[in-house]
Symmetry: C2
Subunit: 115 residues, 2 copies
């Protein structure tokens, strides 16, 4: 636990790390097979470019995603989950279950083929 | 799904409802057996009174908690989980598991005896 955390509660600490409106949605996209900036921007929630850039930077700093260049342009990055990022799967899964049971009209998003 | 939601994704919808830094901590407290305003304020995360009041009001509006007066003063309220509120348990549990495994120094908070 670091000084950034509000208490020793594991729920509070998890929320301190990923408990905002966007971080878990970026992780969802990566779980679904998306790897690239323009793919994240194309998601229906319409994340803004500055929030996306910030959340990817934080996720990388937290060791949950890693990026590597792809293609001819060294500046184009692909993002993938680390093992630590993968370990957030059960939280996302619990939200999928709860949302489907409690919010009419929701449907689990389907994985897309990876690059 | 209502117009308040960003997409039909069950994760996005769940985050729209409870995905802020405080709502799930108030729910945690109620799961742990706390029912009263001053008990929520005494939690180590030090929620402010105005945020607490707002989150309790929203949780009641979402049908996740219900309040009833207690004691001699009609204005003193006790808050308890509804069935819908109870159904968020697996999300909190997934966060407990993740936090304990990934944030050193965290420990599951213990239930307290109810009134």
């Amino acid at each position: 636990m670091t000084e950034d955390h509000r208490s020793t509660c594991p729920i509070a600490c998890t929320l301190d790390l990923v408990g905002d409106r966007w971080t878990l949605l970026v992780l969802r996209d990566i779980f679904l097979g998306k790897t690239r900036y323009d793919e994240f921007l194309a998601s229906p929630e319409k994340i803004s470019t500055n929030i996306l850039a910030d959340r990817l930077r934080r996720l990388e700093a937290m060791g949950m995603v890693e990026k590597q260049p792809y293609g001819a342009h060294r500046k184009r990055m692909e993002y993938r989950l680390t093992e630590r990022g993968q370990s957030l799967g059960p939280i996302l899964e619990a939200m999928v279950q709860w949302g489907r049971a409690n919010v009419p009209g929701t449907e689990r998003f389907q994985p897309q083929s990876s690059h």
